[in-house]
Subunit: 327 residues, 2 copies
């Protein structure tokens, strides 16, 4: 019998989960829950779309609910609420609020006897896993994380809020020279500006003041003022033709030393190049949904992160198969 | 109270473990067991050297025994024997025999109520972990593993057995052009010869026939005949001056696709550059020794691999600390 997954929400990330499920024969998508009118939502697979009001009646028809919502307002409420009814997996990524989110989900999950896995994806998620393991293996060293080259949806949205901007796409770009220094083992101290560039492709409204737009972007606090930022105005057609994908990626490095005199250097690097950020993130969520299902079957309950889950739980293969083919 | 670790054997790997323990304040090295006369073994830290005959009397004075022996003859016997007395960690790396070794250790570990973690290091070990997780996340794709540039001790030993050879060092070198193809997402089919070169630095005995030595190396089955191999004769002084280290490394890549039409490509790469193979491997063993200790405290017993252990067990930090700083 397959693992029955349902989705809450149907944005980019949920579409990524929907596609990933097609690649995992042990898993099926049984429902997409939406806050909109279900008739207005058309999904790409043959999956029923159901109003979120009916969540409770699906309690015994879903093994794991995957939450496709955002970290700002959706997940802080939805994850603790939904884990009362289902095993859940979310991609909560507001680093500073993870301890609070963990506590809220843990309490509700333990009371209801479900598993809630939070902060799943690639960062947090796969990058966290590598950072954590690398720190345990090389306790003396330095961590570096670079993102990109890829589209930051948060930064693209920030540009769209500038007056006179019709549409925009922002690429985060790691600075090659700094990356090379880190890979060489030089352990540089890097400022925000030395780590990433921000490349902005902007479609201006007709008649808008482009000089003013460029100034507004480049001086925007938090988002752009600490970076070297380029602004390139393009047509709407060009944006569609050349910037419609959501590629991303990045890399985590740990540079550490060993030896009685700390004389030996080691560099661990984990590197992702992703054509589609939401589809890769969705694929990670599906693997952790499988883990939530297996843990729940074993009687486990409570909130978990990628740190708490033995890797074998992510796989459809048995322990014997894993040891024979992948160890 | 610290985690009390003991070592069985005192070769390169055990020296690596000894050094790594100095970097982990929650762990102490309490004994080095040897099959030799303990008086003949001088260790680099202030640790008692004890005859292997006294193992049993240390039963309650050691939390985890780390086995420094080799996979050919030592570990198949030692690990199942020692797990009767202690929690153990080994670096068993004969891939084809892992299922048998697992079964033997599992039986003895369950009977005695201990934890035995096998095949720990970087390959098997960290590389296996990445391969396994990457396969779970991207079920449709191709795996690639490259080793080097680094010293293969097995291949160096094989050269030393050739008549007329006094000493030798063999470097395994990934072929850049093939690596570039894999990183580009081209998913090439690569033969053994297309993946790695073998560079041999050889010190010949005085008066030895160098043409014959080179021929014997290059045609050696399993070790060299399937590879492009270079043989460079050097002096004993040069070998000591330029080839006395044991650097190694390598990388695991998974190239996979997602999307309803498999239209998006993703490349995951994990890359290690190690100045000292035994010290890095020793550092991994120490982290898993910590895990063996924690699992045993929780009442777990049996044989485990890197697939079966939640990453948090590797760390000296608490769940709260890990979530706050590394997630």
């Amino acid at each position: 019998m397959s693992i029955r997954i349902a989705l809450l929400g149907y944005g980019n990330l949920s579409r990524g989960v929907e596609a990933a499920i097609q690649q995992n024969p042990d898993i099926e998508l049984v429902a997409v829950f939406t806050r909109r009118d279900p008739k207005s939502v058309s999904v790409r697979t043959n999956t029923p779309v159901v109003s979120v009001d009916e969540l409770e009646s699906w309690k015994d028809k879903v093994d794991v609910l995957v939450l496709g919502g955002g970290s700002a307002t959706d997940l802080p409420k939805q994850t603790p609420e939904c884990v009362k009814l289902f095993n859940v997996v979310d991609s909560f990524d507001t680093h500073a609020n993870i301890p609070t989110h963990f506590a809220n989900v843990d309490k509700a999950a333990k009371e209801s006897g479900h598993v809630g896995i939070i902060s799943v994806g690639w960062d947090p998620g796969m990058f966290s896993l590598i950072r954590m393991i690398s720190n345990a293996v090389l306790p003396e060293g330095k961590d570096y994380t670079f993102w990109g080259r890829g589209v930051s949806q948060g930064h693209s949205d920030a540009i769209r809020r500038v007056e006179g901007v019709k549409d925009a796409r922002q690429y985060t770009v790691p600075i090659e020279d700094s990356v090379a220094k880190v890979r060489s083992g030089a352990d540089p101290e890097l400022t925000t500006r030395q780590k990433h560039l921000r490349e902005c492709y902007v479609v201006a409204e007709e008649g808008a003041d482009k000089v003013k737009i460029e100034e507004a972007i480049k001086t925007m606090p938090n988002y752009f003022s600490d970076y070297d930022t380029t602004v390139t105005f393009i047509s709407e057609e060009e944006l569609k033709a050349n910037h419609s994908g959501l590629p991303h990626g990045g890399f985590v490095l740990r540079s550490g030393v060993t030896g009685l005199n700390k004389e030996n250097k080691h560099i661990i690097e984990y590197n992702l190049k992703l054509d589609s950020n939401p589809e890769f993130t969705g694929s990670v969520l599906v693997a952790y949904a499988r883990a939530a299902y297996k843990l729940s079957k074993e009687g486990v309950s409570g909130c978990k992160t990628v740190f708490d889950i033995a890797p074998a739980y992510l796989s459809a293969l048995s322990g014997d198969e894993l040891r024979a083919h992948l160890l």
